[in-house]
Amino acid sequence: MGGSSAAALAADHPLGSGGDVKRTITLIVNGVERQLEVQDHWLLSDVLREQLKLYSVREGCGTAVCGSCTVLLDGRPIASCLTLAARLDGRRIETVEGLSQGERLHPIQEAFLEERAFQCGYCTPGYIMAVKGLLDENPDPSEEELLDYLAGNYCRCAGYPDILRAVNSSRLKLARQRAAAGPPTGS
């Protein structure tokens, strides 16, 4: 494991351990291109939190089990707590901060809000991103597919019945949104 330091602090203390070699990478984070200086062993979760101040990315276990740190990498959910940032040059990252458009919530956020699919809220951003990954990939999952996909996101408050309702509501909202947008063009 080995957590990483705040980049700002490391810069203040150039003799800090862990190797000083940094490489510059570009990440497209919530649609914005960001150039970042990272060491090879720095974890994506730390880089997103400490350099980009995206505090919705929360580490719960450090072992890619609990799902609190889930972000989308090129549209697929990953555990950012076990992903090395340095290997992601040029890739696209989405966090919950990028979902809402101003005051307008994403349909999945709307569904989580309406169904109160949160209690302490610590798992919520990761959960919402996992649901987005699921429904982008499979807009109409079976119950079994849904449970399999989301079993990697813990909610220790165990608001699971509310979360299940929110996922189903998200599915319907997104379907309505697609229907309203008309048939897809191209492939």
Binding site: H13, G16, R58, S100, Q119, A158, Y160
Partner: protein, 781 residues
């Protein structure tokens, strides 16, 4: 359910005030706060369960670039002006282990550095020389004379009134002994037709809030100790930090952002003393954030060995209950004595057994400290007595529901402590879960024949818990001239929805929409003392305090309005942001108009404040008898239908029904969330959660090896029911709801499994392996 014509906000499922923030990822949690020049602390932990610390060599660690300080227990002990010992019941824990370590994981040294990496690297370069001491891990062994002593001396802390009676008994590992004596159990056993005696165990387990412990301390230019911390007990932290640093209470400020949950793990001192110490010696802001593996070495749920003996007559009357329980509280007492006190005196359940003898021992061992866990020990003890109730029922061929209803306490009946019951909904809870599960007429457990395939069974159980008494909640309410309201309360929002529920109460009292109410997060500079956010106490205690504080404002508004309206203040009503004469709604003023009359300037406010304090009659030391052992009781019941595969031992929970007597639902949806969430969390503890501890070493200290319930563990059918037996002194009749759903799940499942396949597992968790072993043993007998 009755419709509350009188209430407009209380009793409705208004949306949560924290909702929009939480779905957009915007709430600030403690670990999100950074201060300029902030340093990072890291902890070196003991590798021995019990050892004398001979020498700590810090020289190599101090040379690591970025390291600001390395400290050991000896440094702490030699720091002038501080008392390094702390704890809520006994001051038995030091900022860092002084002279000896008492468990594997005990903090023995710490590093503070510019970044976490440097701090962690330096940790590995600290050399500690230990002289191992004999260790003891089992609570029953540890309670025997001659066992190695974990603590030689005990200093009672006197921090809480309910623990004011603890004594500094030396020469034993038993740091607390709860006794209840009612009637004469020996005589009753002598005349009983049957005696059933069994021992049930619960393992240590993790609270596992997804936000690990984290604390940030900054000592400011006025030498004030500012603490941002993930705690459920801000007022206690202020008290203990002031004691450690020997400063007045107003030199310590504790602020608690939203909590990434707690479930009891974030009560009392955790990282605060060490983080404050590191800030004290470096004069820099310092943060310590625990990793998940460190969580396993910080606090656990109590492991318990519970022996339960019941004396029964042929007609099914249970005439005696004797129970002897050993609570493994680990190396430091933390709140163990309160856990043993509160669950101890309820160890004979919500029943009117005429003869009761309870002995509950809180025992030090060389394990990770155990503390409060959602239910304060009651689930472990319900597991024992509710399993035993079923043993009695099945042996006598009595319907388990009928047996419980026959013995369950009614209004006015005396509890085992002699306290008359007020507002007890245990029978209602039992009946409701029985109805919801489709309780069948009693039938004997099925026999398992080779190839019988999966078998189904139903089980139920109930439990009762007493709220912490005495305890205190203070609240200040501001009403501003525009009718907006600010509530100052030290109740921690940790997911339970207290912010919303407390705002509902303020809105109800002050006749404003809930959107006009803001609840301040705990900040001990501005929010008054509150005992703890735990034990299902906040709605009742803080709710009452807010209600009274708001009532003072209302009185002031009425007096001012009465003059203008030429009416008696008693004849006025405050509703929909208007004050008007009862029966003549047109004769009224808006809230801003009343402010204009009373104060005349823009932006003024009226302030109300109240302290709500409950009182108990302390339990007699020898008999546990008391005319008022608690302010209120809350009970719950669970029913389950399971399917057990005798070939594999796998259990599927087909349906789970959980009922809790909440008194009155302030926010019905939140009550359901609490009951459901508590029940699902407890399913994990029933089937697969346990800390595997080998000679004091936790061998599964990670989520890779310690599983929590996921979406896939939720039963296909789950029903949460709020039972509403109002309490005469509760706000609108409300009691508490945070823990009720945890109480009886484990026993209900165990009883359902017995009903399905005729074997009983007595040691939690109920794994397929244990079921198979039990089935095999039953086959051979």
């Amino acid at each position: 359910m009755a419709v509350d014509v009188d209430y407009t906000v209380v009793g409705t499922s208004v949306p949560r005030l924290d909702g929009l923030k939480k779905v957009t990822g915007r709430p600030i949690y403690t670990g999100d706060i950074e201060l300029p020049g902030m340093l990072h602390g890291a902890i070196l932990r003991s590798t021995y369960p019990h050892a004398r610390v001979v020498r700590v060599d810090k020289t190599r660690a101090e040379r690591v670039p970025g390291v600001v300080a390395v400290v050991s227990g000896a440094d702490v002990a030699n720091t002038p002006g501080i008392d390094p010992w702390y704890g809520p019941v006994f001051r038995d824990q030091a900022i860092l282990a002084i002279d000896k370590v008492r468990y594997i994981g005990d903090p023995v040294a710490a590093v503070v550095a510019a970044d976490r990496e440097s701090a962690e690297e330096a940790l590995e370069l600290i050399e500690v020389e230990y002289e191992p001491l004999p260790a003891v891990f089992d609570p029953v062994e540890a309670a025997q004379p001659g066992a190695p002593l974990v603590h030689e001396v005990l200093k009672p802390a006197r921090a809480f009134a309910d623990m004011a009676h603890v004594a500094a008994v030396g020469g034993t590992n038993v740091c607390y002994h709860q006794k209840v004596r009612k009637g004469d159990v020996e005589a009753a056993f002598a005349r009983a037709d049957y005696i059933f005696e069994d021992t049930y165990t619960s393992p240590p387990a993790q609270h596992a809030p997804l936000e690990p412990h984290v604390t940030l301390v900054y000592i400011d230019e006025d030498d004030r100790i500012n603490i941002w911390t993930a705690t459920q007990s801000p007022s206690f932290i202020r008290t203990d930090i002031a004691a450690i640093f020997r400063v007045p209470l107003n030199r310590v400020r504790v602020m608690v952002p939203y909590l990434g949950a707690g479930y009891g793990s974030k009560l009392y001192d955790k990282l605060e003393p060490l983080t404050a110490y590191l800030a004290y010696i470096t004069r820099k802001p310092v943060r310590i954030a625990l990793s998940r593996p460190e969580e396993f070495l910080t606090i656990t749920k109590h492991a318990v060995v519970a022996r339960c003996k019941m004396g029964v007559m042929k007609n099914g009357d249970i005439i005696a209950c004797e129970t002897e329980n050993y609570w493994n509280t680990g190396a430091y007492a933390d709140i163990g004595p309160r856990v043993v006190h509160k669950s101890g005196y309820t160890s004979a359940g919500p029943y009117k057994f005429p003869n009761v003898k309870i002995d509950a021992y809180c025992v030090y061992t060389n394990n990770v400290p155990a503390g409060a866990f959602r239910g304060f020990g009651v689930p472990q003890i319900v597991w024992a007595y509710e399993s035993q109730m079923d043993v009695v029922a099945h042996n006598l061929g009595i319907d388990p529901l009928e047996l419980r209803l026959r013995h369950a306490l009614d209004e006015g009946d005396e509890f085992a402590t002699g306290t008359p019951m007020i507002s007890i909904g245990v029978k209602q809870s039992l009946r409701q879960v029985a109805e919801a599960i489709g309780w069948d007429p009693p039938r004997p457990p099925r026999r398992v024949y080779p190839g019988s395939g999966p078998l189904r069974g139903k089980g139920l159980a109930c439990g009762v818990k007493a709220v912490l008494t005495p305890s205190i909640s203070g609240a200040v309410v501001h009403m501003n001239a525009d009718g907006s309201v600010t509530v100052l309360s030290s109740t921690v929002e940790m997911g339970q929805g207290s912010e919303t529920a407390l705002a509902q109460i303020a809105a109800e009292e002050l006749g404003v929409p809930i959107q006009k109410v803001r609840v301040h997060l705990p900040d001990t500079d501005v929010t008054p003392y509150d005992t703890i956010t735990a034990g299902s106490r906040s709605t009742y205690h803080m709710g009452n305090a807010i209600r009274r504080a708001a009532g003072q404002i209302k009185q002031q508004l009425f007096e001012a309005a009465a003059e203008v309206l030429e009416a008696n203040p008693e004849d006025l009503v405050l509703r929909n942001e208007r004050i008007f004469v009862r029966g003549a709604e047109e004769r009224g003023l808006t809230i801003p108009e009343v402010f204009a009359v009373k104060l005349g300037a823009l932006g003024t406010n009226l302030v109300g404040e109240a302290t709500y304090k409950t009182i108990a009659e302390p339990l007699d030391h020898e008999t546990g008898q008391s005319k008022k052992s608690t302010e209120f009781w809350f009970s719950g019941a669970t029913a389950a239908e399971v399917e057990v595969d005798p070939e594999t031992g796998q259990v599927r929970v087909l349906k789970l029904v959980a009922a809790a007597d909440v008194g009155k639902e302030v926010n019905p949806h939140h009550c359901v969330q609490q009951i459901e969430g508590a029940a699902i969390l407890t399913l994990g503890l029933t089937f697969f959660e346990w800390m595997n501890v080998d000679q004091g070493q936790v061998t599964n200290a990670s989520f890779l090896d310690y599983q929590l319930p996921s979406l896939k563990d939720v039963p296909p059918e789950i029903v949460a029911l709020s039972v509403t037996v109002p309490h005469p002194d509760g706000p609108y009749g409300a009691k508490g709801v945070g823990e009720s759903g945890t109480l009886s799940v484990q026993a209900a499942i165990g009883n359902a499994i017995y009903n399905a396949v005729g074997v009983r597992v007595k040691d939690l968790p109920i794994t397929p392996e244990k079921i198979l072993r039990a089935l095999r043993a039953a086959e051979q007998s």
